[in-house]
């Protein structure tokens, strides 16, 4: 069962909490919309009739126990699952109103607009500069060298990495710390100017300080990008997101403002999960 973010409950502490929270973002335009989405790995249905509207320029977190479908759902949003043999999607996923599963969609262009950062940082065995420039070059967006350098710098600044690497842009990216490598991957994703950033457990392999840097980055980036983040860390979802969606056994159980999800969820399953009674 999916629930729209406008769902309300009787006045409660949650209503009180909402007064003190950030202003409602419900008036933001819908950036991504899934309608009746099913997804199959071979004969196994991994997502069941998912319908959800994701608003632009907010952070939406997907939470749920392992195997609940949250990462699978994230990967349907830039068709990253296409590369897995035997998979099949049914239903619609609209990005800016356009169904990304309809025939003729340019998947490369889709993935430029819907960037992705993975759990394990995966820099190329190249220099810091070349990692960030890579997407620009292969997409024909490099321009002159000075334009390219400016874009690389801008991306590294957005990823809060510039000050740490500006003097070693031509050193190997593999020599960086894990946290820096992850921010480099974020810079690489931002370089091609996406609208949407998908983050699949981006901090789960990082230490607390590096995690905090990533969380602060997410907070800053949402003014420019629509961010969707999968995390198995509920506290992280609570800290960084505006909206939270709870998945369970391939179904979207509840979707609402984050403060409501963590203070007075509507569904017993959500309550049991966020209070640690299962999962």
């Amino acid at each position: 069962m999916s629930r729209d973010a406008t769902a309300t409950r009787p006045p409660s502490l949650a209503a009180i909490a909402a007064r003190g929270g950030p202003p409602p973002a419900i008036d933001r335009p819908v950036k991504i919309q899934a309608e009746g989405l099913n997804f199959y790995y071979g004969g196994t249905r991994a997502l069941e009739d998912i319908s959800i509207r994701i608003h632009s320029n907010v952070v939406t977190a997907f939470i749920g126990p392992s195997g609940c479908g949250k990462s699978t759902f994230l990967r349907t949003l830039n068709r990253m699952n296409d590369i897995i043999p035997g998979t099949c999607a049914e239903g619609k996923v609209l990005v800016d109103g356009v169904d990304i599963y309809k025939p003729g969609v340019d998947v490369v262009e889709l993935r430029r607009r819907v960037g992705m950062v993975f759990q394990k940082s995966n820099p190329f065995p190249k220099s810091v500069f070349d990692n960030v420039a890579y997407g620009l070059r292969i997409n024909g967006m490099a321009g002159s060298h000075s334009e390219l350098a400016a874009r690389v710098e801008e991306s590294l600044r957005q990823a809060a990495l510039w000050d740490e690497v500006k003097d070693r842009l031509h050193d190997s990216a593999l020599a960086m710390s894990g946290g820096q490598q992850q921010r480099l991957c974020i810079a690489r994703a931002l370089a091609v100017r996406p609208d949407i950033l998908l983050m699949d457990e981006p901090a789960s392999a990082l230490d607390p300080i590096a995690t905090q840097r990533i969380e602060e980055l997410v907070y800053d980036l949402k003014t420019t990008y629509t961010i969707l983040i999968v995390t198995h860390n509920m506290q992280q979802a609570a800290r960084v997101s505006d909206y939270t969606a709870f998945f369970w056994l391939g179904r979207l159980i509840e979707y609402d403002r984050t403060e409501k999800m963590f203070t007075a969820p509507a569904e017993t399953l959500t309550e049991d999960y966020v209070t640690g009674r299962f999962g």
């Binding site: 909402a18 007064r19 003190g20 800290r239």
Partner: protein, 228 residues
């Protein structure tokens, strides 16, 4: 960067919470001032303003509770941050009660203006000044995380208690002497009682500040009160 440093987002939320508490403290203090001034000058317009206008404080009370509730739920604060938010919840309640007490003072003042003055008011305005100063200092100690100032607030409470006792004794003689003064004198005694309670709330706030800053619980332990 240290691990202990709160995220910027959280820090901004804490600063917002503090700003709203200060706003509420300022409102509560101003309303106490207006109520006492209305009593002393027999200004019924001023008194009615206090009696009728408690809504802003009540709204802030709910909003601040909501902010604290959300911060606790979403950020799982620890140590100083946790103590700060718990202190904010308690301070919020104290300030709301101060707002109520200002209304109580205004109500007593309104009744008092229906009678001839019992006497020239000297101790009650002084109590009003002390109570307001205690409130101000308690909130300053909150903002500046100044336990020395918080301890001064605790010590000030004794002066307020002594003045309340003095007011009672003095008015008792008036009542014994002239039974027609009983009604207005009782209202003055009530006002002194309300002002003394405002001092108690300021004391509570100061105790919360000490707990917030140093994790020391000085409630009900008068031996700690003379520190600072």
């Amino acid at each position: 960067m240290t691990v202990e440093r709160a995220t910027r987002h959280f820090q901004e939320e804490l600063e917002g919470l503090q700003a709203r508490l200060l706003e509420m403290g300022g409102l509560a203090e101003e309303r106490v001032r207006m109520a006492v001034h209305g009593l002393v000058t027999r200004d019924t317009t001023l008194i009615d303003t206090v009696m009728l206008g408690d809504e802003l404080i009540n709204e802030l009370h709910i909003e601040i509770d909501g902010r604290c509730f959300t911060l606790l739920a979403l950020h799982q604060p620890m140590a100083t941050d946790l103590r700060s938010i718990v202190a904010a919840v308690k301070i919020n309640t104290d300030l709301e009660r101060v707002g109520d007490l200002a209304v109580n003072i205004a109500e007593a003042a309104r009744r008092y203006t229906n009678h001839a003055p019992v006497k020239k008011l000297i101790d009650i305005p002084q109590m009003g000044d002390i109570a307001q100063a205690m409130l101000r200092d308690a909130l300053d100690s909150f903002v500046r995380r100044d336990t020395g100032l918080a301890h001064q607030v605790l010590n000030e409470d004794d002066r307020l208690d002594a003045l309340k006792t003095q007011v009672f004794r003095e008015l008792l003689t008036y009542m014994l002497d002239d039974p027609s003064t009983v009604e207005p004198a009782l209202d003055l005694i009530l006002v002194s009682r309300h002002l003394e309670r405002i001092g108690d709330h300021a004391t509570n706030i100061a105790e919360d500040v000490i707990f917030m800053v140093s994790a020391l619980d000085v409630r009900h332990h008068s031996s700690n009160v003379d520190e600072g």
